[in-house]
């Protein structure tokens, strides 16, 4: 174990645990928030950041190779695709006629 590999392991643990943390927060948001749009607010942003962190951690573990390049490609694709999918499903819900949650609904 030389110094460089210890620093690399530190970054891997930092990024991957950060990814797991943001996955946990987005799951709690998906379970606890009151209506469809707020749930998308939790998963759309939380999952994007969590995927980015986890893929960076695994990419550092893999190092500079063709596989590492492919992992970087997945990260770039998810960073583009996840907000697009969230926007599409949220617009479909709006056109379908789902009502956003208001503060008065909680006092029933």
């Amino acid at each position: 174990m030389n110094t460089a590999s210890i620093i690399a392991a530190l970054f891997i643990i930092l990024f991957t645990v950060g990814g797991l943390f943001f996955f946990t927060t987005s799951t709690i948001g998906l379970l606890r928030f009151p209506d469809f749009f707020t749930r998308l607010h939790a998963t759309g942003k939380g999952d994007t950041l969590a995927v980015l962190f986890s893929l960076i951690g695994i990419g550092i573990y893999e190092g500079l190779s063709l596989t590492g390049f492919k992992i970087l490609l997945i990260a770039v694709f998810m960073f583009l695709a996840q907000p697009t999918a969230t926007h599409a499903i949220s617009k479909a819900g709006m056109r379908y006629g789902l009502q956003p949650w208001k503060k008065e609904d909680s006092r029933k």
Partner: protein
């Protein structure tokens, strides 16, 4: 390092079971689609971690890439179908 990735993978599997509550009981079809998209995102990372544990990440990374594409296209197709006007679900 393998044990560390195993722990992360088990944590993600537990999270998938929590999200499955929203798929089964979620009111309306839109909540179900959003939850399935979240499950697909977690599965992508689980596949990569399985590749690290089995020492075959060069094979599993291609599966993960295809999984990301199919998850995105499936969500978009469901959204477009419901937007154009499926039956009232």
């Amino acid at each position: 390092m393998n044990t560390f990735f195993l722990v992360i993978g088990i944590g993600l599997c537990v999270l998938v079971f929590f999200v499955l509550y929203r798929v089964v009981f979620g009111p309306g079809v839109f909540n179900r689609i959003a939850a399935i998209s979240a499950i697909g995102t977690k599965t992508l990372i689980i596949i990569l971690i399985m590749g690290i544990i089995y020492n075959r990440i060069d094979m599993f990374v291609d599966i993960s890439m295809v999984y990301a594409l199919l998850n995105f296209i499936g969500t978009l197709a469901a959204a477009k179908y419901l937007e154009i006007g499926g039956e009232k679900l």
